[in-house]
Symmetry: C2
Subunit: 248 residues, 2 copies
């Protein structure tokens, strides 16, 4: 697989796409997804793990609300990973992750994930290159465990935002009373480390890609939501699931 | 490392050992272990995982009571693994194991473990050779994760019992009112599969030995207890732990 260079990938939808048509398509796909998710739950042969990563302001929370929030919560669980607790830090970095791995029949969303342990930690040099390489191997082994030993399909999305759009969104958090609770002075400090973040993300994509990453242009939420809905829809559609019928 | 052949390894203590002297030594080591375990807890740099496997009647429960039961329960946790629940079966086979991986500062005992997934399952052909090989790889990766990413020291003990001694102990379960609750008709059926069990254990020792197995002669409990106490004692002693002093 050729190396991923984020600078060469657009953060916007291709020109000429009709926003309203795309949104209508997304709505239709979400309706179908509701059925597919029910089938996934009924059949209980496959598990789905959706990993969502992206810079501050890239729309992770919005994605959870506007896409995954449309599905039956009985079959969809969301886990948002924050700074590790003392108890979590007293274990290996995948301990808190494994706990929330999806059971067969379930869709599990990780809003941030084990990938923070080779991104933010490297940018701030809490983790050196050698440790990062060891963590990447552990991550690859772990994802293989989920895939091979529990029929888990892993979708990994990077919400690819431009630094300019990020600035606009961070500023909105200051002005919009509904968004002020999200404002964090430190986000502007982190934004200055943009290039370093991109470097660490690229390194991650190129070393942890056996379960492949999808780079999602994220400057426009309608396009981002569409791509992710489509990806989940075509994954489930491709599983050729069957309702199990009456138990014998 | 040369392959392990269980038939070539004695299930009894070497002749000439003085049982009473050995028991006195064990008692002394256990007293010292109490201090060492306190130091492990205070320092909280290392974690210890003790995996105990063995045939029915090999003395796993007795070991937990007579050796680990002597230590401060605040720093020692025991997890006995039984037949997996429906929820456990809906996850990869290491999910229920990882949950109980020890935090730094703790000693975790597994009375039976993830190794059942390549022993009893293979004997009964619920798991074929290809799956077993994949599970062995997953186990090796998992133990590497614990060792490398959380400073976990893994002691793996196989309680090596003779089939003759097993028969004696299973018969005792019928006669002794204090042991009758342990009696299970099926144990005699399992005992007939002895050779097959030994073959699967040997395969396991030879493929999952990066964190090495210790084969413990188990026909005499005093000797078994002594060897395991000694192994844990010398592990902790060798860590050169220090009380951390006053927090700065």
């Amino acid at each position: 697989m050729p190396a991923i260079h984020l600078q060469k990938i657009s953060t916007r939808a291709p020109k000429g796409l009709n926003k309203e048509k795309i949104k209508a398509k997304t709505t239709k796909l979400l309706e179908e997804l509701d059925d597919l998710q029910n089938l996934l739950y009924a059949e209980s042969k496959h598990a789905v793990l959706v990993v969502v990563q992206g810079m501050d302001g890239s729309g992770k929370d919005g994605l959870v609300r506007d896409v995954f929030g449309k599905l039956n919560p009985q079959g969809v669980q969301v886990r948002s990973y924050k700074v590790p607790t003392a108890e979590e830090l007293a274990h290996d970095f995948l301990w808190r992750i494994h706990e929330h791995a999806p059971a067969k029949g379930m869709i599990q969303i990780f809003n941030r994930s084990h990938y923070e342990d080779i991104i933010v930690t490297r940018v701030h040099k809490w983790c050196n290159d050698k440790q990062a390489k060891e963590r990447m191997k552990a991550i690859n082994d772990f994802e293989e465990l989920l895939a091979k030993h529990n029929g888990t399909h892993i979708l990994k999305f990077y919400l690819h935002l431009s630094p300019e759009e990020q600035q606009i969104r961070l500023q909105e958090r200051i002005k919009d009373p509904k968004k002020q609770w999200k404002y964090n002075e430190k986000d502007f400090e982190e934004a200055k480390l943009w290039k370093n973040y991109m470097k660490m993300y690229e390194d991650c994509f190129n070393h942890c890609n056996k379960q492949p990453w999808k780079i999602i242009p994220a400057d426009q939420n309608w396009y981002k939501d569409h791509l992710i809905t489509t990806a989940l829809h075509s994954l489930l559609k491709g599983l050729n699931m069957q309702y199990p019928g009456l138990k014998k």
